[in-house]
């Protein structure tokens, strides 16, 4: 059989944008290789990072990858906003604009928001529940590398073969062979597929970790709220991700094997894809917001020096959200006209899901009420989140009114809504979490002054960018158009919106500066408890040793560390002297990395429909799995002496 794609499809030529990307990627690669070789860091990279199974290091790698993806997605956004700043601009052609909004959406949701959440989960959960690692550390490493190579596959599409261009939702028949013969949509399908396996594994991993690995005495209703939020998220992931996996598989079979699941002809049903996509897609938006809710609960409590108000309500509302999230998917296509009964049902179920969300907002307010509020950077992000999310949630409720949605749908009103909840909710939430747990991760605080600059620029930029978009929706401006004329009066608001986007871009640069500056000059955290925290992670030195807890703590009730500190203050704290014991610890392994490289090769091969290469990749995957099943020497014991030494060094007793 003649292969469908030849080498001539490989490199896209003749486009300055892509040429620029090609060149800069080339230069960056050469530079990285040079630096690693010059400083003889290859071995270090492999031993300390690429093969690690330590949840804290995996978390840090998630942070780095996610911030890089935020940068890439942000450049996409700025390109789009430049093109739309004024009518009839020719910065981007239609074909480029379409590719860019597709990769922007896919990257921001799957390769920026998701990994940032996984980062927070990895860094915090074991520390917060008094565990030494996650339940399946090896699987955890696989999850990370699958995400990473999935992301690389999608990013590669920009320079090799052409990017997908049917939107981040990839609706058929537009995403089918008939209208999209190039390899772009294959990149999309396979990148989601590869990283999706990793996400599913993460869900399972953290569900088991939270249910089985809590330290002695920690009942479910004693868990910190961030842990609760991750529990809810894990449940959502486990139930939702198989749906997208199957959906993408069917789409791939259509494209690769000539099947007709979603095609226009031969009995295919594109509507089925739209349903399946959102059966995953709606839970997905809650997957990315729930952990942010958890972070806000932690931060409001700590920086108001108070217990969380309405803990039970908070837990109940998160569990309700993760249940109802499965019964609202049709609100993404009321306009498909499924019928009056169906639309009413899904309109009401969507309004219902807003109730627990609203309750949480009130509980955060009451947590601050009669407290003592410290305006640190994590708290600033939290405070900015509340009005932003209140408005975004409110416009969500407006969208849920099915007949009114006939007017909002596919317009800039919708764009404004979901950016408000995603940026104001998820992104601000992750910034709060990053700045809050940064000292725990790296042992130093981030610079507050630069942080405040970033904070204000983000907020000003955000409102300037997205408030006009609500108005543009009412002016009839639809999403995904690469250009527009002067006649509709859309120009001024679009210009303001673009200026807002640039301000957010500058804000991001301030954050990069903030990190770079703090690496060198940031205030060092010697206590392990720089914020006067309430939960177990603050009982450890910063950064925590690889085994986290030399002796597993025993807790009684919520806010365990706060209680311990109080008891110490009162003087009735009796430290139970526990004998140190050797700690069972997993060995590093190169297999997760190598396995994911093979997945990448398979994905790349199938993208270009070079079956030999796809098969080779899958064979490699199979070999990795077989090799692993015959490895018996996968863990070891950290000796008591080594623990003693590490602890002494960490507590500055050497």
């Amino acid at each position: 059989m003649e292969p469908k794609f030849k080498i001539s499809h490989f490199f896209i030529h003749g486009d300055p944008l892509i040429l620029g990307a090609d060149v800069s990627i080339g230069i960056a690669t050469v530079m990285i290789i040079f630096v690693l070789t010059y400083f003889k860091k290859w071995k270090w990279l492999w031993k300390e990072w690429l093969t690690t199974v330590d949840h804290k290091k995996i978390g840090i790698m998630y942070v780095i990858a996610a911030l890089l993806m935020l940068f890439r997605g942000g450049v996409d956004a700025l390109l789009m906003r430049t093109q739309l700043a004024l009518p009839n601009l020719k910065v981007l052609l239609s074909e480029h604009y379409n590719e860019i909004f597709t990769t922007h959406g896919t990257i921001m949701i799957l390769f920026m928001a998701m990994p940032l959440i996984f980062a927070m989960m990895n860094i915090v959960i074991p520390l917060q529940i008094g565990a030494r690692d996650v339940a399946y550390p090896f699987l955890n490493a696989i999850s990370f590398w699958l995400f990473f190579f999935g992301a690389m596959l999608l990013n590669l599409s920009f320079v090799i073969g052409g990017s997908p261009n049917a939107g981040w939702v990839g609706y058929p028949p537009l995403s089918e062979l008939q209208f999209n013969p190039g390899p772009g949509e294959n990149f999309y399908v396979l990148a989601i597929q590869i990283s999706g396996i990793g996400s599913l594994a993460t869900g399972i991993n953290f569900l088991v970790t939270i249910l089985k690995m809590r330290t002695k005495g920690m009942r479910l209703m004693d868990m910190p709220l961030f842990t609760w939020s991750v529990l809810a998220t894990s449940i959502l992931i486990i139930a939702a991700f198989p749906v997208i996996t199957v959906t993408m598989l069917l789409l791939f079979l259509d494209r690769f094997a000539g099947a007709h699941f979603f095609t226009m002809t031969h009995g295919g049903d594109p509507m089925m894809y739209i349903n399946l996509f959102w059966i995953w897609g709606h839970p997905e938006v809650y997957i990315v917001i729930l952990p942010a809710f958890g972070i806000f609960s932690e931060v409001t409590s700590v920086f108001s020096k108070k217990v969380t108000f309405g803990y039970t309500s908070m837990v109940v509302s998160m569990m309700l959200i993760s249940f109802y999230a499965y019964f609202t998917w049709v609100h993404h296509f009321f306009t498909m006209g499924a019928g009056a009964g169906v639309n009413t049902f899904f309109a009401v179920s969507t309004m219902i899901i807003a109730i627990p969300t609203g309750v949480k907002v009130f509980n955060w307010l009451l947590t601050m009420y009669q407290g003592r509020i410290r305006l640190t950077e994590p708290m600033l992000w939290t405070i900015a989140f509340i009005p932003c999310f209140a408005i975004g949630g409110a416009t969500g409720v407006m969208l849920s009114i099915a007949p009114a949605d006939y007017q909002y749908h596919n317009s800039y009103f919708l764009i404004a809504h979901f950016h408000q909840v995603l940026i104001g909710g998820t992104v601000f939430g992750m910034f709060a979490g990053l700045t809050y747990w940064w000292p725990k991760m790296f042992g130093f605080k981030l610079n507050e002054t630069l942080g405040r600059w970033a904070f204000w620029l983000w907020n000003i930029g955000f409102y300037a960018c997205f408030m006009p978009q609500y108005a543009l929706g009412f002016m009839g401006m639809t999403r995904r158009i690469y250009t527009y004329g002067w006649d509709m009066g859309w120009a001024p608001l679009n210009l303001i919106s673009s200026i807002g986007a640039v301000i957010m871009g500058i804000a991001f640069l301030f954050q990069v500066w903030e990190i770079a500056y703090s690496v060198k000059y940031g205030e060092r955290d010697t206590t392990g408890d720089p914020w006067d925290g309430h939960t177990l992670e603050w009982s450890l030195p910063s950064p925590a040793p690889k085994y986290n807890f030399a002796v597993l703590p025993e807790v009684h009730g919520r806010d365990a560390w706060w209680k311990t500190k109080e008891a110490k203050e009162r003087g009735d704290y009796e430290e139970k002297k526990q004998e140190l014991e050797p700690i069972h610890y997993p060995k590093n392994s190169g297999i997760p990395f190598i396995l994911s490289v093979f997945f990448f090769i398979a994905g790349f091969g199938f993208t270009f429909e070079w079956v030999w290469m796809g098969a080779l990749g899958l064979l490699g995957v199979a070999i990795c799995l077989i090799v692993r099943s015959f490895q018996y020497d996968t863990d070891y014991y950290i000796s008591v002496d080594e623990i003693k030494e590490t602890e002494a060094a960490l507590r500055g007793e050497v």
Binding site: F309, I383, N410, A491
Partner: protein
């Protein structure tokens, strides 16, 4: 210094007309010209009001609390670190949103069921079949047997039953001033009721992304008096050229075209488009447009 001042001034001066025209910008969704758009606008305003009842107090409370309970040594406000429970307050938090939701659910349901019916029942509706193509709109008038491309004339004051399909990727048919949008889907015939109460020219657009030429899929909706509409139909019938399958197939090719007018079109062209794209797998062809597959045999 001078240069930067020059820049800022130029910028500000440029901004003024932009902002002015922005204030004069047309919020067409909030300026409906027919009963469907009217109903939707009422819902929009009602829900905006209801959510404001929640959002505005939240923002005011937030500002008050941050100010009142800031962590300064001189702050004398009450401090209760262990206060984390209050049944009554929680009942209020859960209660208010529930009541608002019940309200909204009632109005939503009522209006969803109303909008699937013709907006007025004492006037005979007109039917227009709409096909979204790559990247243009085809309108067929089954009762008048004429067709247009990229514009549609309708009689004002009469309910219009748009029957929507697509012979290209799924699009969405939207005329903001008359009412909300509905998807055009290959192999499906969806019904959308709209009506213009005033004569005039309205903005229509495709709303669901369909590829390269999507941004240019805008069309004019021209609402005329009954008499003018009839005159227009007669003129089209007399002067326009007929559309045959060859012309249709040319239209179907991806690309952009200008407005076009046809004095007739092949019989059952719309139904054939439906069937070709899998219409026989669906049963959702609205009554009155029930299509008998045997007819295809005859037309062949």
């Amino acid at each position: 210094m001078k240069l930067s001042r020059l820049f800022t001034r130029t910028f500000l001066i440029c901004l003024v007309p932009l902002i002015l025209s922005g204030c004069g910008g047309k919020f067409i969704v909030l300026d409906p010209k027919g009963p469907v758009g009217e109903e939707e606008k009422h819902l929009i305003l009602l829900t905006t009001l209801l959510i404001a009842i929640v959002v505005i107090p939240v923002i005011i409370l937030l500002i008050y609390i941050i100010y009142r309970y800031r962590d300064t040594p001189s702050n004398t406000a009450r401090y209760r670190p262990k206060w984390g429970d209050n049944k009554y307050l929680e009942i209020i938090w859960w209660g208010i949103p529930i009541i608002i939701t019940v309200f909204m659910a009632y109005f939503t349901g009522k209006s969803v069921f109303a909008l699937v019916k013709p907006p007025t029942t004492d006037v005979k509706p007109i039917t227009i079949q709409v096909t979204s193509l790559d990247w243009k709109w085809l309108f067929q008038y089954p009762d008048q047997n004429i067709a247009t491309v990229n514009y549609v004339d309708i009689p004002a004051g009469r309910p219009v039953q748009f029957i929507l399909t697509s012979d290209a990727p799924m699009n969405s048919f939207w005329i903001p001033q008359l009412g909300g949008q509905e998807y055009t889907m290959p192999g499906m015939a969806m019904r959308l009721w709209l009506q213009a109460n005033e004569t005039g020219k309205y903005f229509g657009t495709g709303a669901n992304f369909t590829g390269e030429g999507f941004a240019h899929m805008q069309f004019d909706v021209i609402a005329k008096t009954e008499a003018e509409f009839n005159r227009w139909v007669n003129k089209v019938k007399a002067a326009g050229k007929p559309m045959d399958m060859a012309i249709y197939n040319r239209l179907k090719q991806p690309g952009l075209v200008n407005k076009q007018t046809y004095s007739s079109y092949p019989p059952h062209a719309f139904e054939m488009t439906l069937m070709k794209n899998g219409g026989h797998y669906h049963e959702r062809i609205p009554e009155g447009n029930q299509f008998n597959p045997n007819d295809t045999e005859k037309t062949k």
